[in-house]
């Protein structure tokens, strides 16, 4: 009633700002509520379970070649070395002659060192809401990521191959196509934008890129699933109305190189919780 009285007394211009203000308040309230809940849950992130499973998988002798990743897999800092490896990927790996993000590198190790078949891993690389657990690869990424807690993102853009991947990733982020003419940057190219209530980080800035990579890999409240940045990029392409990026392919690594390097210097806090 009171609301109606006020509205009746105001001009169209003021009405606009009232509606604006109300929406802003609602939006801020929803964001605050979520943040509170998310922060509370962070103390006991369900992703810790994934990290523990990942540790077992990392140390166990597995695959047709019966070797462990701990004794065979080099994530860029030496075989079995984990501290700070995640925040320095994507990086160039001479043995594969490719720039690889963390997930892709672990997959490469599983295939090359342990003898798993790529097609078997790529068949179901991400957890769906009704699955009982996350795929091994997700648990491994969680475990590896956990060993970069408290370390700054440090993608090596002085490496010419990484730099090229960064520039290609930037081009991919700006590439408009599909039925709706969307690029990544249609939604993630300027500051302070929203889709409905969802804030959209600007991936071309340090702050926005940090928002995009912090908290991943993540336990996601929606569906209660553990997911990685590989999945996140794929879901962006889905909403862009593009076809599906192939699992662990260059196109995803290029985007991750671009976004992660833009967040260089920002302190990584480990696997997180997402809405």
């Amino acid at each position: 009633m009171k609301y109606k009285c006020i509205i009746g007394a105001l001009s169209a211009l003021v009405m606009t700002s009232v509606a604006f203000a109300q929406a802003e308040i609602d939006h801020a309230k929803a964001a605050k509520e979520f943040e509170k809940f998310r922060a509370e849950m962070e103390d006991s992130n369900p992703a810790e379970l994934n990290e523990m499973k990942g540790e077992e998988l990392w140390k166990a002798k597995r695959g047709p070649k019966n070797v462990s990743l701990a004794e065979s897999c080099d994530l860029g800092l030496g075989i079995g070395k984990l501290e700070g490896a995640y925040v320095q990927m994507p990086r160039y790996f001479a043995d594969a002659d490719a720039v690889m993000d963390a997930e892709r590198r672990i997959v490469w190790c599983m295939v090359e060192k342990q003898g798993f078949k790529f097609a078997d891993i790529a068949k179901k690389p991400f957890q769906s809401p009704n699955d009982t657990g996350a795929p091994d690869i997700t648990n491994l990424v969680m475990y590896v990521a956990g060993h970069s807690r408290g370390k700054p993102f440090a993608v090596d853009l002085k490496d010419a191959k990484v730099r090229a991947m960064y520039e290609i990733g930037k081009e991919i982020s700006q590439y408009r196509a599909g039925p709706y003419d969307f690029a990544c940057t249609t939604c993630h190219g300027s500051d302070g934008k929203r889709i409905r209530m969802q804030d959209l980080p600007n991936i071309s800035t340090k702050e926005g890129a940090a928002k995009s990579v912090l908290g991943w890999p993540a336990w996601r409240m929606t569906g209660g699933v553990a997911l990685t940045t590989q999945w996140r990029m794929k879901d962006c392409f889905r909403q862009q109305r593009f076809p599906e990026p192939k699992y662990a392919s260059d196109v995803v690594t290029a985007l991750l190189t671009y976004i992660t390097a833009n967040a260089n210097g920002v302190i990584y806090k480990g696997p997180g919780i997402k809405r």
């Binding site: 169209a12 009405m15 606009t16 509606a19 604006f20 109300q22 929406a23 609602d26 939006h27 090229a164 520039e167 290609i168 990733g169 930037k170 081009e171 991919i172 700006q174 590439y175 408009r176 196509a177 599909g178 039925p179 709706y180 003419d181 969307f182 690029a183 249609t186 939604c187 302070g192 934008k193 929203r194 889709i195 409905r196 209530m197 969802q198 959209l200 392409f237 889905r238 909403q239 109305r241 593009f242 076809p243 599906e244 990026p245 192939k246 392919s249 260059d250 196109v251 995803v252 290029a254």
Partner: protein, 205 residues
């Protein structure tokens, strides 16, 4: 047909002028496009043909969404010519149907059911009715759109054409070409015109 050749010549001239500083970018773009071509697979309704650029996308992709004005004007005119007007000549439909359509963001992803109808996606990016507070901000606010601008036949034509093909007015607009790509049918666009322009619509209350 005739118009195309001067356009190509003009584009050529532009690229020659821009070639020296832009060489590195062009090289990375070529590599990016090659990567996109090799690293996607079809899924659901999203086939690989969606990765190819049409003329408008190609120009916008190559100019950072800032095409030279002469090219923009020519191509905007082409886009305008693509607008199909309703058979009955009426441009204002039912704002209530328009509001419902504006709410839905479904359609065209690989996880959506193929085929029509699809949502208007309007609230994803625009503030429209004051009753809906969950609106996006990628596009401008459309609150009081008709109240501020009136609903003259010219205004109706503008709004209809803008929703049908936003690129007819701003070649590299971020807004999809809803009519041109067959996402929205003329009847649906009429309902959206009414949502923005009908004095009875909550947008103008």
């Amino acid at each position: 047909m005739k118009g195309k050749y001067p356009l190509i010549a003009l584009m050529g001239a532009t690229f020659v002028v821009a070639a020296a500083p832009a060489l590195a970018d062009a090289d990375f773009r070529a590599q990016a496009i090659a990567m996109i071509k090799k690293d996607f697979q079809p899924r659901g309704q999203a086939d690989l043909d969606r990765l190819a650029e049409d003329g408008v996308q190609a120009i916008c992709n190559r100019t950072g969404n800032k095409p030279p004005e002469a090219i923009a004007k020519t191509l905007e005119a082409d886009q305008m010519a693509s607008v199909r007007w309703p058979a009955d000549g009426k441009l204002m439909g039912d704002w209530k149907k328009g509001e419902k359509l504006a709410q839905s963001g479904r359609g065209f992803t690989w996880s959506d059911k193929p085929g029509l109808p699809v949502g208007g996606n309007c609230y994803n990016c625009h503030q429209i009715s004051p009753k809906e507070v969950a609106y996006g901000t990628i596009g401008p606010s459309l609150l009081n759109f008709g109240k501020l601008r009136g609903n003259t036949p010219e205004m109706q034509k503008y709004v209809y054409a803008k929703i049908y093909n936003a690129k007819a007015f701003n070649l590299c607009s971020e807004m999809p070409r809803f009519g041109r790509v067959g996402a929205l049918q003329p009847e649906q666009i009429k309902d959206l015109v009414a949502l923005l322009l009908d004095p009875e619509s909550p947008v103008n209350k």
